[in-house]
Amino acid sequence: MEENRFEPKIVAFVCNWCTYTGADLAGTSRLKQLPNARLIRVPCTGRIDPIFLIKAFESGADGVLVSGCHPGDCHYNSGNFHARRRWMFFKELLEFVGIDEKRVHFSWVSASEGKKWVDVVNGVIETVRAEGPFQEYEKINKSNMIPIE
């Protein structure tokens, strides 16, 4: 790591069948990536509750990535379609309450898109790095640590 460079903490929620496997392929292909993302494997993007993202921020994430199968590729036929609707609302809501869209990312990465995975994950990390630490959320996380009037 470069000296004094901000290293963002990224949580990536990925579906088991497409993106996790796509990331496996990136590994098998030895495609180098930045080391900031931690993947959390779930069966399907349909399983990803928007609140997971809030929990990720509460746990100190500077940015979040959600990724799954392309529409039509879903291992469970339609899980990602429901997820897509959910995210549309959630992303707008987050923006509306002041969470910069640069901290919340969505992508479709199939099991064959190892290269795309690398581009996505590196892109997210660099975008969040440019944004800097998520100080606003850090502040409300700390709100629990001081007595409130």
Binding site: P50, I51, F81, E95, F96, V97, G98, I99, G123, I140
Partner: protein, 287 residues
């Protein structure tokens, strides 16, 4: 309102309904929810500009055993909530007799005097002055002076802010929250036996009324209303701390409209927004 009383008496006397959820007057201005079980009690029913409450909240929350068909007085906005409750399997259509009222606007809060400044902001953008769903329809439509759509103005104001300003604005608002859950209890569509905020293994939302717990509570509440909220405005009205929570819901409704062309509770035969999808739903935000 003689028409309402006559109808209610007839329905109760004939046994078509076992009770009627309506409004009764108190003092000069105020009205409050009221349940008429008998024709004599039906005499007390009223409908006027002060009938603010969305009575559909009572439909699946009454502490009375299942006693046959329930009659209920609804405005257009309330009827939308009732439609959602039917679509969400909370009550069967045949178990409720809907007395729709042609609505000529209501005040912001029950005790307020009927004048333009006091008209509820939701009435400014109302498209359902005649309910979309009813068994009986009473009253006649009359013109009234529309108020400013203040919620829209607040949304426009917030949208014009930078993310940091928006964050500061909402943190300031959420900071007031005392987690009394009046917003939840008054909402017809918050009917869960155990709200997600009461789930503690694992804990989804911190019950503490701290900045972090208040933030997650308020936005998750808005999220759970997305594609469902009918905009009756009760949550904002009852908030003792004056947090404009309804604005979040309205913003989500605008997304439902602009991205999916959908308005909740307008037609019980349409699929609900949550729970359905289209192949070509927008995904320009997904890489």
């Amino acid at each position: 309102m003689a028409q309402l009383v006559e109808l209610a008496k007839e329905l109760l006397e004939s046994g078509k309904v076992s009770l009627i959820i309506g409004y009764t007057a108190k003092g000069d201005n105020a009205t409050y929810p009221f349940i008429a079980y008998t024709a004599a009690e039906a005499e007390k029913l009223v409908f006027n500009h002060h009938c603010v409450n969305n009575l559909s909240v009572y439909i699946n929350r009454l502490d009375i055993p299942e006693a046959g068909k329930i009659g209920i007085v609804v405005k257009g906005c309330d009827a939308r909530a009732l439609s959602m409750l039917i679509q969400e399997s909370q009550i069967k259509r045949e178990n409720v007799l809907i007395i729709g009222v042609n609505c000529n606007g209501v005040v912001k809060d029950v005790e307020m005097e009927w004048k333009k400044e006091n008209v509820a902001p939701k009435c400014a953008v109302c498209e359902v002055r005649t309910p979309k769903l009813y068994d009986e329809l009473i009253g006649t439509l009359e013109d009234f002076e529309k108020p400013d759509p203040t919620a829209m103005q607040i949304i426009a104001k917030i949208e014009a802010m930078t993310p940091k300003e928006r964050w500061a604005f909402w943190q300031n608002e959420f900071d007031k929250c005392i987690k009394c859950y009046a917003c939840r209890q008054v909402c017809p569509l918050c009917y869960c036996d155990r709200c997600i905020v009461d789930e503690n293994t694992p804990q989804w939302i911190e019950t503490s009324a701290t900045a972090r717990g208040n933030f997650s509570w308020n936005i998750i509440r808005a999220l759970h209303q997305s594609g469902r909220c009918v905009g009756c405005g009760e949550c904002s009205r009852v908030c003792p701390m004056g947090i404009p929570i309804g604005v979040l819901n309205m913003k989500m409704n605008m997304i439902g409209m602009s991205e999916f062309g959908f308005k909740p509770g307008m037609d019980i035969n349409e699929p609900t927004l949550v729970g359905s999808y289209k192949f070509d739903d927008k995904e320009n935000f997904i890489r």
